[in-house]
């Protein structure tokens, strides 16, 4: 399937090429072309704003899936140090999950991420970032290690969802995800989760029960992928655009709901247009959150985490039909 964001970018390539050409020419030309360059650049900015300035939820889904968007490893590799640890100690190492020890702003941490491929070959190896039970068991193992050594857990969420395959069901995908939720709700260390791309269903939540949840401006996070939701509700995956609009899956919606704590802004056109700046900003936000959380006594940290999730939901106070107790 073609990504409409990539399609839109194609339309800009010609303009970018002309600006670059003029710049090159300008260097060895006696005539100053700067005004022409400036005019073209201004036009380019205007078009960018027109095309990317106000993304619909469905366009944000595609921005979140953009092939050049920074992935979990792009962030983790920007740590001062990272030593990857592998495997679930039972069956297999799942390449859709990366994790290990790292140093972030001088602090030892356990970093864990859902890793999609940056090209077709890597995508096949990493199963398009859809983890299997072995991946989630690696997550749980590393989270447990972090809790034991009292180092913070830093996660990067980027998945359409957990792998829906025969082997994943045979190896109890449900149990693997449930045990991640269990571990994360109990770990007596700060947990900071960042949704860097697409956060899809329980497969994303398995890495996202956290004291501080960050989302990139154009990331999405939803109960199911728009395609999955449309298939479930209307038996028609082609209604994904409608589902995307109804699910309230944007960072802005979720911050309003109190489900997400912080939004990290992206440059116009998306994170891939200024990777270094975005990565630095995200790591800065994570470090600030970890510093704040690390100062809290573990009992209070856990109590606040419990209360945070305890109050999430929306219900009416209905009439009791009866007092429910009958002698």
């Amino acid at each position: 399937m073609t990504n409409p964001i990539v399609e839109r970018e194609r339309g800009l390539v010609e303009l970018e090429r002309r600006i670059a050409e003029l710049r090159d020419v300008n260097v060895d030309q006696p005539v100053d072309m700067s005004p022409e360059i400036a005019a073209l650049e201004q036009k380019y900015e205007e078009i960018l704003r027109e095309v990317f300035g106000n993304l619909s939820p469905w366009m944000k889904v595609h921005m979140a899936r953009h092939p050049n968007r920074p992935t979990a490893l792009d962030y983790i590799d920007a740590f001062e140090r990272f030593d990857e640890l592998h495997g679930d100690r039972h069956f297999r190492d799942d390449p859709a999950i990366v994790g290990g020890f790292g140093l972030l702003c001088g602090r030892p941490v356990i970093a864990i991420g859902e890793q999609r491929g940056r090209d077709t070959k890597e995508n096949l190896r990493r199963n398009f970032g859809m983890p299997s039970p072995e991946g989630y068991r690696k997550v749980r193992r590393l989270a447990h290690l972090a809790a034991r050594l009292r180092v913070p857990i830093i996660t990067f969420v980027d998945t359409k969802g957990a792998d829906p395959g025969i082997s994943s069901e045979e190896h109890a995908q449900s149990e693997a995800i449930a045990m991640c939720l269990y571990e994360f709700s109990q770990a007596r260390v700060p947990i900071v989760a960042t949704v860097v791309g697409e956060g899809g269903s329980g497969g994303a939540l398995a890495l996202a029960i956290a004291d501080h949840v960050i989302m990139l401006e154009h990331s999405t996070y939803s109960v199911a992928s728009p395609e999955g939701c449309a298939a479930i509700l209307w038996s028609d995956a082609s209604k994904a655009e409608e589902a995307a609009a109804r699910l309230k899956l944007t960072a802005q919606d979720l911050q309003g709901f109190g489900i997400v704590d912080e939004i990290v802004p992206e440059p116009l056109g998306g994170a891939h247009r200024d990777r270094e700046a975005v990565i630095a900003r995200v790591l800065g936000s994570i470090d600030a959150a970890v510093s704040r959380l690390a100062a809290m006594p573990p009992d209070r940290l856990l109590e606040e985490r419990y209360r945070k999730y305890r109050r999430l939901g929306s219900w009416e106070s209905g009439q009791q039909e009866s007092d429910g107790s009958h002698a």
């Binding site: 957990a162 829906p164 395959g165 025969i166 994943s168 069901e169 045979e170 190896h171 109890a172 995908q173 449900s174 149990e175 995800i177 449930a178 045990m179 939720l181 269990y182 709700s185 109990q186 269903s201 329980g202 939540l205 398995a206 029960i209 996070y221 939803s222 109960v223 199911a224 999955g228 939701c229 298939a231 479930i232 509700l233 209307w234 109804r246 699910l247 309230k248 899956l249 979720l254 709901f257 489900i259 985490r305 419990y306 999730y309 305890r310 999430l312 939901g313 929306s314 219900w315 009416e316 106070s317 209905g318 009439q319 009791q320 039909e321 009866s322 429910g324 107790s325 009958h326 002698a327």
Partner: protein, 282 residues
């Protein structure tokens, strides 16, 4: 099975109407069964042994000795996203209430099973496919908190198509909420049993259903994370019939036991007895 007074009140006119249907056809063997015979046989086909899906209150009356004190009845469905497709979400909910005779996808409360006090939750597939939205998550959390406070064992019967789409991320967050409550409950040394009934999938399967001390399942119950249709579409081939059945999961080591409905109550009583350190004088 005589219907206790509390159950008659709770079930109201809806269940009476449903019970008025004289017969049901077994979806497996096609046998036409008199509703009364079916109920007397714990909703198991007298010919082929197929386990019909049960309503929450039928389950509760099958297990609970006498009184059952409900928890969370004051929590009613909201509409956090203002969801509209062919109908609005509140209209869908009203229709499900009418059809199922219950007001949400789970009934929770405290009662005793053969003398053992328990906190019991029973999900009901007849209400929006047993999907978990805020009310289901909230009631189960309230039950676990009450059980923890009173040091009661907790038994949860699951039946769910997964998270409720119409509540979006609020539905997904119920996995986190219930899990945190399970963890606190279990950390205090309390006993937790889940009984997986047909079907148990998605967000319920990937949270409290698989977090218990003992996982029991009913025969042929469909249990899994991803739905069968989704997997078939992904791998582009038909799955074998036994895939994701309770028996399949038992063989793969994912659950503890597959128990027929006739054996279910005695099995639960034995488990409760082990966890209680033997039979208590009652």
């Amino acid at each position: 099975m005589p219907m206790p007074e509390w159950l008659r009140i709770r079930r109201g006119k809806h269940a009476d109407q449903r019970d008025a249907a004289l017969w049901s056809k077994c979806p497996v063997c096609g046998e036409v069964l008199y509703r009364r015979d079916l109920a007397a046989n714990l909703f198991v086909c007298t010919k082929c042994g197929h386990h019909f899906r049960m309503s929450a209150y039928d389950r509760i009356s099958m297990l609970i000795d006498g009184d059952f004190t409900e928890i969370g009845t004051e929590v009613a469905t909201g509409d956090p996203l203002g969801w509209v497709d062919k109908k609005t979400y509140p209209v869908k909910i009203a229709a499900d209430r009418e059809k199922s005779g219950i007001n949400e996808g789970v009934v929770c409360g405290v009662g005793s099973i053969d003398g053992f006090d328990v906190a019991l939750a029973v999900m009901d597939f007849h209400f929006r496919g047993g999907t978990m939205g805020t009310v289901v998550g909230e009631r189960i959390t309230m039950l676990l908190e009450e059980a923890r406070k009173r040091k009661l064992p907790c038994v949860i019967f699951t039946a769910s198509g997964g998270a409720r789409m119409e509540e979006g991320m609020f539905a997904l967050m119920q996995m986190a909420k219930t899990t945190a409550a399970v963890a606190r409950f279990m950390n205090d040394g309390n006993f937790f049993v889940t009984v997986l009934t047909d079907p148990t999938t998605g967000g319920v399967s990937a949270s409290f259903a698989f977090e218990s001390d003992v996982i029991v399942a009913e025969p042929k119950a469909m249990i899994g994370f991803a739905g069968r249709r989704v997997i078939e579409q992904t791998i582009r081939q038909k799955l074998p019939d036994e895939f994701q059945t309770a028996e399949f999961l038992l063989e793969k080591g994912a659950i503890d036991m597959v128990v027929t409905r006739a054996e279910l109550k005695p099995t639960l009583v034995r488990l409760l007895e082990y966890a209680a350190g033997g039979r208590r004088a009652s």
